[in-house]
């Protein structure tokens, strides 16, 4: 796998889709067994890190591939049967053959577009779902990601520019890119128990916490690891929020 492909997977995981065509990237992922497995491993690792139940038999890429294969035929052109019912009976056999060929070609296109639409919706739901996980506390229920049912419209330059897919819980995706959630802006910080807002005088609390860690009998158990709380603290974190 090339570095570029790794980068695409990584950006899909991180929701960094500003200059990407997620549906096309997803289709590429589904065509490569190696990429599918890698993507599944990424999700497995993230689930494990977050302490969530891990279904090792579930493959996101395979699920999307299956959605592509089983998506019913879709076309936004008039069907052949409608042609015959509305007076196309006078056309000759050759014309029928041409129309049939044309219709099939359009159907295949429609199938691909709709399939990619489903794939894109799955990819976006996945990516945005992951972004949701990154922005929420550990007690939030993962299955609350989907609520409500506004319509998702993909970008006009997308492969699936003729499709409109619904992804519950999302509004305006594709027409308005969310700001990239930089790692540099995501450190930990002190939060008020009353209103959940960041509090002032954090350095004072850090001074007390540092002193507490050093004098706590817990340090005899876990060595320096409790200091990860102070290392995780970022004075600039949350400035964008």
């Amino acid at each position: 796998m090339s570095d570029n492909q790794d980068d695409v997977l990584s950006r899909l995981m991180d929701g960094e889709m500003a200059d990407m065509q997620p549906s096309r990237c997803l289709a590429d992922v589904c065509q490569s067994e190696e990429q599918k497995q890698k993507w599944a491993r990424y999700h497995l690792a993230r689930d494990a890190i977050r302490g969530e139940a891990v279904d090792q038999t579930f493959s996101i890429a395979s699920a999307v591939s299956a959605a592509l294969e089983h998506e019913p035929t879709y076309s936004n052109v008039t069907s052949l049967s409608q042609h015959s019912e509305t007076g196309a009976a006078a056309a000759d056999q050759q014309s029928r053959v041409e129309q049939t060929a044309s219709g099939k070609a359009r159907s295949r296109w429609g199938l691909g577009a709709a399939g990619l639409g489903v794939a894109a919706s799955a990819a976006l739901a996945t990516v945005i779902g992951l972004d949701y996980f990154q922005n929420t506390g550990p007690t939030a229920a993962p299955n609350t990601v989907v609520a409500g049912s506004p319509t998702l419209t993909l970008p006009s330059n997308s492969v699936v520019n003729s499709a409109t897919v619904s992804v519950p819980g999302l509004t305006g995706i594709g027409t308005q890119q969310a700001p990239v959630d930089l790692v540099s802006n995501r450190g930990s910080y002190w939060v008020s128990g009353q209103n959940g807002q960041r509090v002032g005088a954090e350095m004072r609390l850090n001074q007390l916490l540092g002193d507490h860690i050093e004098h706590s009998p817990n340090a005899d158990w876990r060595g320096m690891l409790p200091y990860s709380r102070l290392v995780g603290y970022d004075a600039s974190a949350g400035a964008e929020q």
Partner: protein, 328 residues
Amino acid sequence: MRQLKTSLRGWVFAAVSTSLPLSVAADEMDAAMLLSTMSTAMQTLNYEGTFVHIQNGHADLMHILHANDENGESERMRSLNGEAREVIRNNSLVTCIWPGSNDVIVNKSKPRTLIKPVDSALTDSDMYLITTQGKDRVAGLAANVVSVVPKDDYRYGYRFWVDTDTGMMLRSMVLDARQNPVEELMFTSITYLDSVDPQRFVIDPNEPQAQWTENAENEENSIRRVVDKVRFDALPNGFEERSETLRMMAVRKDSPVSHVVVSDGIATVSVYVEYVARAQHDPSALGSTHMGAINAYGLSLPTALVTVVGEAPGKAVESIARATRLVN
């Protein structure tokens, strides 16, 4: 390295075989022994690794280097994400550096002690149920899992993944009363070393020199002493006062601060009492705050500001703050 591992296991088994109370349940004994092994390994091994730390729904990747030689323990931990925040600790000082804000906090380090091979605080605790939870695999290494379950909601639960070969802690979780993780730490890679170059613990001279905040007392200014200026009306069940000192701290440069350590044997909180009149209390220092599993509570008394900080649920921290009384 092989020699070190062998000697570590030998120390633990020898100590355990000569000191086990017969009444201790076998599983609790195994679990307590694993925690003791973990404590010993983390203080005595030389190791270097990368781990993920998750709190407040945010994952941070960190690097740790630990050495134990004739000069004692030396440790260095650095964030690999965002700004290179780090903590460097040796047998005299703990230095916390935040390059982005040019803040540096220096504390005097406290000598660590090995926990007992079978600590009665663990095996005879009325506050926790400690059990083994089978085997697992972390960072490519086999691990035994130990579960510490609290019997009420005034303390957190814990799970530890302990390297079956070295006793090193490979993963830990802090759990709330509903067994939801509030904080997690997991090694993604770890290497056990024969020795570590001391130069790797030297602070970069280019680190920020501004805003150094020293909690460490210097010789002429040290007034640290054991006192009895703070009492508690009623602490949450199982919590007891373990120590009380009066010393100068950076948070209050003009007068000494009382520091009381309160613990149930596992959960520990610190009670800091600054002797200043209520009119001088900073409103932002009052009420409850938290960062991951750490909770803090500030309470204004007529003649003192009480701040309780510790790895315990907010309910326990607030209860301890409200139970604080001053002795004239």
